[in-house]
């Protein structure tokens, strides 16, 4: 049997006495876009942060290509091919756009590989090339999101996790960002786990979805059926 790209089993994560995730199971196959929807505080961000090693789970396992990555520190998990775009973009506001991309490619020691990777990012987001020497803090929200995605692509990941890419971005830009996400997946074969409050949008581009509620997975199905599920519609899709 082929091992899934990412397999999360029985994951429980606590902040002190508060349990943020209860026995969560998630599976992502290579080449998929999977979305993770749910209200504020449902544990979506916690799940991503646990996968990328920023949080340590209480119990449960996270395996990437069949290898357990629980307890591995965050900077080593990136090396394995997981790239996490944190909530709120978190571009290094005090660095230039180019320096942000340099940080994204921190693990690339070969200058030519780095240059090729940067050109690849510029081919997806030409705007970033124009803004290269500009301080990232002065970019618009949409440009910052492009930079955050571009920066994450610099490490040549096999698996990309996006946390709320639509947050605080002009609606007109949201669609173009989502188109880029699809492009990255379809054209470049990157597997994507997408966390979104904008569930409509997320389910539109993903093949499968998980619905998280107060730290538990309450529903998982192909995105098309989630979009037609009356319960999901009333809770997350605005009727």
């Amino acid at each position: 049997m082929i091992k899934p790209l990412l397999e999360v089993q029985n994951l429980t994560v606590k902040y002190g006495a508060i349990t943020a995730l209860h026995n969560v199971d998630i599976r992502v196959e290579e080449g998929e876009i999977v979305s993770l929807i749910g209200a504020n505080g449902a544990g979506k961000t916690t799940l991503l942060r646990t996968i990328s090693g920023l949080l340590t789970p209480k119990t449960g396992s996270v395996s990437f290509f069949g290898t357990s990555i629980v307890g591995v520190s965050a900077h080593k998990i990136v090396r394995g091919g997981i790239s996490h775009i944190p909530e709120g973009r978190m571009v290094f506001a005090n660095l230039t756009v180019d320096e942000n991309l340099q940080m994204g490619g921190y693990l690339l020691s070969d200058k030519r590989v780095f240059a090729a990777e940067r050109d690849f990012v510029f081919s997806i987001f030409p705007r970033l090339r124009e803004r290269m020497t500009q301080s990232a803090g002065t970019l618009s929200g949409g440009e910052q999101q492009m930079l955050a995605i571009g920066r994450a692509l610099m490490s040549k990941p096999r698996f990309l996790m996006l946390d709320e890419p639509s947050l605080g971005i002009a609606p007109i830009l949201v669609r173009s960002i989502f188109e880029k996400i699809v492009e990255i997946n379809k054209m470049h074969g990157l597997t994507i786990l997408l966390v979104e409050q904008n569930a409509n949008m997320a389910l539109e581009i993903s093949s499968r979805g998980y619905v998280l509620e107060t730290g538990r997975v309450i529903l998982t199905a192909p995105s098309s059926s989630l979009r037609n599920d009356p319960k999901v519609r009333s809770a997350y899709l605005g009727g």
């Binding site: 965050a74 900077h75 693990l107």
Partner: protein, 300 residues
Amino acid sequence: MNEFLQQVINGVSLGAIYALIALGYTMVYGVLKFINFAHSDVFMIGAFSAFYAVQKYPSVFVINSWPGGALVIFTVMALCALLGMVIELLAYRPLRNKPRLSVLITAIGVSLLIENLAQLQFGAAPQHFPDLLPVTIIHLGNLSISSTKIVVIGVAAFLLVALEFIVRKTKIGVAMRAVSFNHQTAALMGVNVDLVISFTFGLGSALAGAGGVLYSLSYPAVEPFMGIMPGLKAFVAAVLGGIGNIPGAALGGLLLGIIETFVKGSHYSTFTDAIAFAILILILLFRPAGLLGKVQIEKV
């Protein structure tokens, strides 16, 4: 006019030393957001290691010679870098996810520990610091400048430029700035944050060590508590320039050195220290971000 220029040179020479120490405070603040009070003791250890190096190995660290002096500074910087990294590893790293106040209090504890160990080991009485370098008086028009002052200014300027290069142009420098923005995001890029913090301590402590040697060239008496006053002044300088801001620390150091020197040369010389701390109070009241704090977002 003559006296004015003479005082400016004295001030810049003192300010350059403050700037070197202030950079350590400001860089550590940049990455860990706390004031490393043990920093001024690294300065003191720097002075003492130079003192003992020439005493114990006079054939290697030849006094009154340029190569000998250069070798002393280089060795002291390496030793202090190591000391700074050890302090971080033993005292601050275990507290990485604890409240900042715990780290701050620990820093005061480390400072007291080093000072008292130094007193035990080196004795409390001030000891005469040897003449590391040959001293000549340079006459420039009506000005007469001791070569020591030129050396202090030159070495400090060189180190400042080197530091600026490291922080701006090297990979680890960019990583330092990224870590100062956000530890977790830096880690998501594959940056080993602990390593970068350790490097930052090493860099800052090396500068403090160099500061200790340069200070002792100008004020040739070493004792275990010699770091306290220059350390506090450098802290004022760092706040004056904008804590966390590297060019700010350099500017703050220079300004404070010049102001102090002019006060010392006036009728109000007894107020020298008081004025330095009055500046701290004023800057905290009216411009808490410091002189360069707002203009430049750059932090390390």
